[in-house]
C-alpha cells in the first residue's frame, strides 16, 4: 500500500491492527530514546543532520514521538517501517515540507549545519535548495526535459545559457540519464518512461547542488529494472551527497543503505548500521518486522 498524503498516513496508523506483542503497554523497552540506549545511538562520524527529541502532531493526533538521531554525511540512511509509521513525515520535516499541511505542530530540534530548521527566522527557500527531495511518484513539471533540470537554477536568477547548459548536462550525467535524452532535451518530460522520469527528478534535485537529498520511496512506482538503475545511481550519488531514503522494501534498505532506522507507530524502535540491524537486531520488534512476521 502506498500512501501519498502524510495526514492520511497518520490516520491509517490507528487502523492497522496491532499485533498483541506491540500494544503500547506490553512493550518491554523504554519508550523514550534514552541517551544510553545502544539500539538507538550508533556511532555517527560527521553528522550533517542532528534531530533532537522531535515530536510532531497533525492537529490533535501525534505522529512522531520523541525522535532523536544523527545522520551521517555522504552515507545513505534508510527509514523503514510499516505504512503510517511516520517515516515519510519524519523525512518531510527535514526540508519542512510538512509546513504545507494545515495544523502541523512540532517540538524539538532538527539541526542542519548547526541551525535548527524550525527556527522561524530561517530562510525556507534557501533551506530547501540545500536539501533536495525526490518523491514517491515522479513529478516532472509540464516543461521540456531541459527546462525541468534548469528550473531550480532559473528561479535563483541564473539566466546565462552556457551555465545552464553545463549544469543540465552534468546533472543528467550524474543521474545516468544523459545518454538516453541528449537528443530530445527540448521535448516534454512527460513523454518519458516512469524510470526515466524518476531519474529526471533526481537530476533536477542535484542540479541545484544540495547537501542532502531526501528520497521518499523513490522506487515504489517502478519496475525491478528501473529500480535497480536507481539503486545503482544512489551508490554513485553518495560520493557527493548525503542521502536519506524512505522505503517499504527491506531488501532495498539492506542493499543500498549504510544506516537504517526502524520506525513503528511514530516511534523510533531501532537505529544502527544496516548490517547490524538486519543481521543482529537488538529489539524483538525489529526482528519481527524484518523477518516478515508483520508489516
Amino acid at each position: 500500500m502506498t500512501v501519498e498524503d502524510p495526514r492520511e498516513a497518520a490516520a491509517l496508523e490507528t487502523q492497522i491492527p496491532r499485533p498483541a506483542a506491540f500494544s503500547a503497554g506490553a512493550a518491554p523497552e523504554p519508550e523514550r530514546s534514552g541517551a544510553g540506549d545502544p539500539a538507538l545511538n550508533p556511532a555517527i562520524e560527521n553528522p550533517v543532520l542532528d534531530i533532537r527529541s522531535l515530536n510532531l502532531w497533525y492537529g490533535e493526533k501525534q505522529a512522531l514521538y520523541d525522535i532523536s538521531m544523527k545522520i551521517a554525511e555522504k552515507r545513505i540512511t534508510a527509514y523503514i517501517g510499516p505504512s503510517g509509521c511516520g517515516k515519510s513525515t519524519l523525512l518531510r520535516c527535514i526540508n519542512r515540507l510538512n509546513d504545507l499541511i494545515d495544523g502541523v505542530r512540532t517540538t524539538g530540534e532538527l539541526r542542519f549545519e548547526g541551525r535548527d530548521v524550525f527556527d522561524p527566522t530561517i530562510e525556507i527557500n534557501a533551506l530547501r535548495k540545500r536539501i533536495g527531495m525526490v518523491f514517491q511518484k515522479s513529478n516532472p513539471f509540464p516543461k521540456s526535459i531541459y527546462e525541468n533540470v534548469a528550473y531550480g537554477l532559473r528561479i535563483q536568477g541564473i539566466r546565462r545559457k552556457s551555465v545552464l547548459d553545463e549544469v543540465v548536462e552534468r546533472s543528467l550525467r550524474s543521474a545516468a540519464l544523459w545518454d538516453e535524452v541528449r537528443d530530445r532535451l527540448h521535448e516534454s518530460a512527460l513523454g518519458m518512461s516512469g524510470g526515466q522520469q524518476q531519474r529526471l527528478c533526481i537530476a533536477r534535485a542535484i542540479a541545484v547542488e544540495p547537501e542532502v537529498i531526501l528520497l521518499d520511496e523513490p522506487c515504489s512506482a517502478l519496475d525491478p529494472i528501473a529500480t535497480a538503475k536507481i539503486e545503482e545511481l544512489m551508490e554513485d550519488l553518495k560520493k557527493e551527497f548525503t542521502l536519506v531514503i524512505v522505503t517499504h522494501n527491506m531488501q532495498q534498505a539492506s542493499r543500498v543503505s549504510d544506516y537504517t532506522a526502524f520506525l513503528y507507530m511514530g516511534k523510533m524502535i531501532e537505529y544502527g548500521r544496516t548490517e547490524t540491524l538486519f543481521v543482529t537486531p537488538r529489539k524483538k520488534q525489529t526482528e519481527d518486522y524484518i523477518t516478515g512476521r508483520f508489516g
Binding site: N95, L97, L127, K129, F141, Y151, I155, S188, L190, V208
Partner: protein, 549 residues
C-alpha cells in the same frame, strides 16, 4: 429458503431498454442539431444561387419578368371565392418603377411562361434589382450602342471600368478627404481647447491665428479634393444605359450605378457556380447597401470578431487571476465558498442586466470621466462617454468571467499536489511555483473556459444593443488613421444584423434569405474562432501531455 427474485431476463431487459432510451435521447438531439444546420445552410446558401429568369404572361395581357421565389397552396377556407388555389411568388424587381419587389400570382391566370435568353438582370447600387431588356448605351447625347446585342457586348468592359472608378472614389472619400476632414475636426477641437485653457490675450491670439491659418490651408486642400471628387462622380455617371421593363416602360440608368449585369438564362451551370462563389465573396467582404438589405456584411463580421477578441484579452487575465487567488491563496472557508457561489450565480444573471450595468458603469461613469479628463474640448459630444466597441467587449467580459473562473479553477485543481511540492522542494517560492509550474499545467483548462466564453460572447446581442452596437457603422474600429485602433467607435455585429435585416427591414421578403445567410455566417465565425482556440489548447495539451484537463 425461497426468495422472491426478479428474473435474470427481466433485469437484462431493463438494462437494455435503458441503454436504448439514452441512445435515443442522444440521437434525437443530434438529429435536431443536424436539421438546424442543414436548414440554415440550405436556406442561407440558396440565397446566392442565380435562378433562371422567367417571362410570365397573364391572361389579362400583363407580362412579368422575374425569378420564382416560392410557391404555396392556399386551402379553400382562405380564399375569397372558396376555391383552393395554387400560387407562386415572383421576384420581379424594378422597385423604382412598380414600387414593389415581390408579387403573388395565381396560377389559374397564367397564360404562358417562357424563358427568354436576352432577359437581363441588373444588380444596382440603389433600388434593388432590375429585370428587363437592354436597349441602348449612351454618353450624354452620343449613342455608343444602339442594339441590345451591341449594348451587351460594350457593357461588360465598361462595368469593370466603373468598378475601379467607384473604388477610386471610395478611396478618395475615405483616404484624402477623410484625412482632411479629421484634421479640420482636430483643429476645431484645438480651437475649443484654447478657449478652455483661457491663456493671456496675446498668447491666445497667437494660438488662434496659428489654428486659423492651418484651417485655411486645410480648407483650400479640401476645396481641391472636393472638386476632384465631383469630377470623378460626374465621370462615373456619364454613361447611361437605356433599359426596358417587361411591360414596355423605358428607363435610363447610370452605368456607374450598376454593380453587375447578367443574362441568367444564357449562363452555363459552371458559370452559375462561379457567380455563386463570387456573390458569397461579395457578401462576406463587401459593405452593406440599401439599409443593410443588400451588399455584404463585412463590417458586421469584423465587429463581431474584434469585439470577441477584445473580450478575450480582458477576460482571461481577470478570470485567471481571480481563480488563482481563490484556489491557491485564499484560505478555504465560508467566505471563499460564498464567493464561489456568487461567481457561479453571476453566470446566470440575464445578459441585459449586464448591459444596463455596462451602460451605467463603463459608458457613463468611466467613459464620462475619460471625456472630462482627456477630451473636454469635444464636449458635449461624447468620445468615450457613449457606447463603443471597448465598452461592449468589457461588458461581455464581465458576463463571461464566471465561466473562465470556474474552468481555470478546475484546471488549477487538477494539477497534482506532488508537482507543486516538487517545485517547492527545489526552493521555489509559492509565487514561482504557481506561475511557472501550476499555471502552465492548468493552461488547457483556462482555454476550455475561454472557448466557452467566446461562444457565449459571440452570440450575445441584448447587452450590446445599449453599449455600442449599431445597425450601420460608417467606419470600422480599425483603420489607417492614427491611432489605428479606435476603441470608442460603434460597431456592427452579426447577431444584431440578423435581427435588423430580418425584422426591421422595409423589404422583408427580400431579406428573409439574408437572415439565414447571416445566421450561417455567424455559426461559421463562431466555429472558426473556437477551432483556433481548440487548436491552441490541443497543442498545449500535447506539450503538457498527462495533465488532466
Amino acid at each position: 429458503m425461497a426468495y422472491e427474485t426478479t428474473s435474470h431476463r427481466r433485469r437484462e431487459f431493463l438494462g437494455v431498454s435503458f441503454t436504448a432510451l439514452c441512445g435515443g435521447a442522444l440521437a434525437i438531439n443530434l438529429v435536431l442539431i443536424v436539421a438546424l444546420l442543414v436548414l440554415i445552410g440550405w436556406q442561407g446558401g440558396r440565397y446566392f444561387w442565380q435562378k433562371d429568369l422567367l417571362q410570365v404572361e397573364l391572361a389579362d395581357g400583363r407580362s412579368i419578368l422575374g425569378e420564382i421565389h416560392s410557391r404555396e397552396s392556399v386551402p379553400a377556407t382562405h380564399t375569397a371565392d372558396g376555391v383552393p388555389l395554387e400560387r407562386f411568388q415572383m421576384r420581379a424587381g424594378n422597385r423604382d418603377l412598380t414600387g414593389q419587389d415581390f408579387l403573388w400570382i395565381d396560377e389559374r391566370i397564367v397564360a404562358r411562361i417562357s424563358r427568354p435568353l436576352d432577359a437581363v438582370l441588373l444588380e444596382r447600387l440603389e433600388w434593388g434589382n432590375f429585370y428587363g431588356r437592354m436597349v441602348a448605351l449612351q454618353r450624354g447625347d452620343e449613342v455608343l450602342a444602339a442594339t441590345p446585342e451591341e449594348t451587351w457586348r460594350r457593357l461588360a468592359p465598361m462595368l469593370e471600368r466603373k468598378e475601379s472608378e467607384r473604388a477610386a472614389i471610395r478611396s478618395l472619400e475615405r483616404g484624402a478627404i477623410g484625412d482632411v476632414n479629421s484634421a479640420i475636426e482636430k483643429l476645431r477641437l484645438a480651437e475649443r481647447r484654447v478657449e478652455l485653457d483661457d491663456p493671456p490675450a496675446a498668447e491666445r491670439e497667437r494660438r488662434l491665428a496659428e489654428i486659423r491659418r492651418r484651417v485655411g490651408e486645410r480648407e483650400a486642400e479640401y476645396e481641391k479634393l472636393a472638386a476632384e471628387l465631383f469630377a470623378k462622380r460626374e465621370a462615373l455617371l456619364a454613361e447611361t444605359l437605356v433599359v426596358e421593363a417587361s411591360d414596355g416602360t423605358r428607363k435610363e440608368l447610370a452605368v456607374g450605378a450598376v454593380v453587375r449585369a447578367l443574362r441568367p438564362n444564357e449562363i452555363s451551370a459552371l458559370g452559375k457556380l462561379g457567380l455563386y462563389l463570387g456573390r458569397i465573396l461579395e457578401f462576406t467582404t463587401g459593405d452593406p447597401r440599401e439599409s443593410n438589405t443588400e451588399g455584404g456584411i463585412f463590417p458586421a463580421i469584423f465587429g463581431t470578431v474584434m469585439m470577441v477578441f477584445l473580450m478575450s484579452i480582458a477576460v482571461v487575465p481577470f478570470g485567471v487571476l481571480a481563480a488563482v487567488y481563490l484556489r491557491e491563496y485564499a484560505k478555504q472557508g465560508l467566505l471563499v465558498r460564498l464567493v464561489r457561489i456568487a461567481v457561479n450565480n453571476l453566470a446566470g444573471v440575464p445578459s441585459i442586466v449586464f448591459g444596463v450595468f455596462g451602460l451605467g458603469f463603463f459608458v457613463y461613469s468611466i467613459g464620462g470621466t475619460i471625456d472630462q479628463l482627456f477630451y473636454p474640448e469635444a464636449l458635449p459630444t461624447p468620445t468615450y462617454g457613449t457606447g463603443g466597441i471597448l465598452w461592449g467587449a468589457l461588458t461581455l467580459a464581465l458576463l463571461t468571467v464566471p465561466v473562465v473562473i470556474v474552468a481555470a479553477e478546475e484546471g488549477l485543481a487538477s494539477v497534482p499536489r506532488i508537482v507543486r511540492e516538487g517545485s517547492l522542494a527545489l526552493g521555489a517560492t509559492k509565487f514561482e511555483t504557481t506561475f511557472q509550474v501550476v499555471l502552465p499545467a492548468a493552461a488547457p483548462g483556462v482555454l476550455t473556459g475561454l472557448i466557452l466564453a467566446m461562444a457565449r460572447a459571440a452570440g450575445e446581442v441584448a447587452p450590446l444593443m445599449i453599449v455600442g452596437m449599431v445597425k450601420l457603422a460608417p467606419t470600422l474600429p480599425v483603420d489607417g488613421r492614427f491611432p489605428f485602433v479606435h476603441f470608442e467607435r460603434k460597431f456592427m455585429h452579426l447577431g444584431f444584423h440578423i435581427y435588423d435585416v430580418g425584422f426591421q427591414s422595409p423589404n422583408v421578403d427580400a431579406t428573409k434569405p439574408l437572415v439565414f445567410a447571416t445566421a450561417l455566417l455567424l455559426i461559421v465565425v463562431v466555429t472558426a474562432m473556437n477551432l483556433v482556440a481548440i487548436t491552441v489548447r490541443n497543442r498545449l495539451r500535447r506539450r503538457f501531455a498527462g495533465s488532466a484537463v
